[in-house]
Symmetry: C2
Subunit: 325 residues, 2 copies
């Protein structure tokens, strides 16, 4: 089976290399000529995933058309905020192909997930799949074991999951596209909260509570948006959240850490994904009437100049209720 | 309001000190005369929680009768495997008192939770409550923020939760006693699995997947035992599991780490709680027909001499299915 991987960042490269090792014929589209050159001559993506050897079954190209037309299956791993424009530009070749989206996040301007964007661009959603879960690219690239979820149309996604599954990268199937997309996007807000807590020196108990209650409010928002609750407790929700809050320092957590230590937001530092997501969460939760106290606390720190201490005081002074309410 | 805390380990001490600071009058029963001495004269439990100053509102006693009879509310923080004998011995004073059990684990011989033990000893369950969640004693003792669940009879537990709640130690209420008890007990098996994985150097992705899929199999067992599924995704389930698998080294995780690095089980090292729980889980899952592949893999390593590598190979070679199946 022939695969196209559209994107040459660390995750696109890890997927290309992994599936190449599994015996697929992979054609990777890279935007930068240097990367194509580096892969074709040095068998390595020096710029974005140095130290990982490409198998012979993976080739790189500068042409989206070439990558897509020769393939039965297309992985889209373009940065989320550029994905709509990219799909539109190449709609001619992409239309009708089975497309697996491996980018995470919400489109900021529209507050839409990428499956919604796909429907708007291609006028149908049956060929759309999403891959998400706790997957550091570096680990997948060197064949350390991982598991993720592949979501898409029931009846089609199971076969695709079995085709792509391997012991070293297990793929569970799901029909809850929306839930799988939201888990990977919303986790970044909780990661900032956990970072703030760690930066304030609040300890492991506080962090574990934030992860648990944060996931529970993400689930409430997800449900209001049409996702299944259970999906949030799977690999794309809980799994990815745990990875982000406790694994190597993610940029979102690092940003939170600095805030917790007293730095002011927006001080020249480049803005992390979670800050955009936070804005989307704030607007969506208001519009849908979903209570999200942790996200609101983070919002008040980042967008309203509240001190982390005051935000914590308000958060912990809320009346308690049933855990499942 | 007067409270008794029965037990003088680190958790009992943290609870006594915390509620003392909240304005309750606390009488702590300690088994060891040295501990009573240390608390009464030095205002510190040097043996089990050194460095934490007792407030004046907490007193220590060697008499269970004195502690219980003078109190409206009793915390039981005796080691799980000794709890039945302890309750039986002091049933005369304990009967009819509101009892909050803060010990975690399953009674090994009977495979029962402590609420079941309570019912057998006292012939009724209405006065039984359980407190559980992600709570390192050391952090609660020094007033770092934490959150936990208090479960008990609906209609009673909400009032008790509000009485004991404070901003620094928030208590959510629940009517799912069994679910709250099981979360704290079953997490230890997953902690061993996560330790083995870390010991083998499998990385963050693998650990996040084990936590997620491990919690999901605990939930299946819990459901078969009459607990609510959602409880496993709350503070006493997910929260405590995340704390144990990623916080300071718990003894269960440490034990797993050693196994993952090639040490043989039972080599003189004192046995951790999770090893007992594992046996209970193995028997219960068989009896109830619940598939628990991760627990079974850990069981085969500890009780059947399988190498972690072989166990991993079998675990990752299982056919994949829907994530929510």
């Amino acid at each position: 089976v022939k695969l196209a991987v559209l994107g040459s960042g660390s995750w696109g490269t890890a997927l290309a290399v992994h599936f190449g090792r599994c015996g697929f014929e992979v054609l990777q589209w890279c935007r930068e000529p240097e990367v194509v050159e580096s892969v074709e001559t040095g068998r390595e993506n020096v710029a974005f995933l140095p130290g990982v050897k490409y198998p012979d079954s993976v080739r790189a190209t500068l042409s989206v058309k070439e990558a897509v037309e020769g393939s039965e299956l297309v992985f889209s791993v373009v940065p989320t905020q550029f994905t709509r424009a990219f799909w539109k530009e190449h709609a001619e070749f992409l239309k009708g192909k089975l497309l697996i989206c491996a980018s995470k996040g919400i489109e900021i301007g529209s507050l839409k997930t990428l499956s919604q964007v796909y429907s708007e661009v291609f006028g149908d959603a049956d060929s759309y799949f999403v891959l998400s879960g706790p997957t550091f690219a570096k680990e997948v690239a060197v064949s350390l074991p991982a598991a993720a979820v592949l979501a898409g149309k029931e009846g089609k996604v199971e076969d695709l999951g079995r085709l792509l599954n391997s012991p070293v990268f297990r793929l569970y199937s799901s029909s809850d596209v929306k839930g799988v997309e939201l888990g990977g996007a919303l986790k970044n807000v909780v990661a900032i909260a956990a970072g703030i807590s760690d930066g304030m020196g609040l300890g492991y108990n506080a962090r574990a509570a934030l992860i648990t209650r944060g996931l529970s409010e993400n689930k409430r928002l997800g449900k209001a948006l049409g996702a299944k609750e259970e999906t949030f407790f799977g690999l794309s929700g809980l799994g990815d959240l745990v990875l982000t809050c406790t694994g190597e320092l993610s940029r979102n957590r690092q940003f939170g850490l600095a805030l917790g230590k007293g730095e002011k937001p927006h001080k020249g530092r480049s803005v992390v994904e979670g800050v955009y997501t936070l804005k989307a969460v704030h607007e969506l939760s208001k519009r849908l009437g979903v209570e999200m106290p942790i996200s609101e606390a983070v919002y008040s720190v980042i967008y309203e100049g509240k001190s982390p201490k005051d935000a914590l005081r308000e958060l912990t002074s809320r009346p308690v209720k049933g855990e499942l309410e």
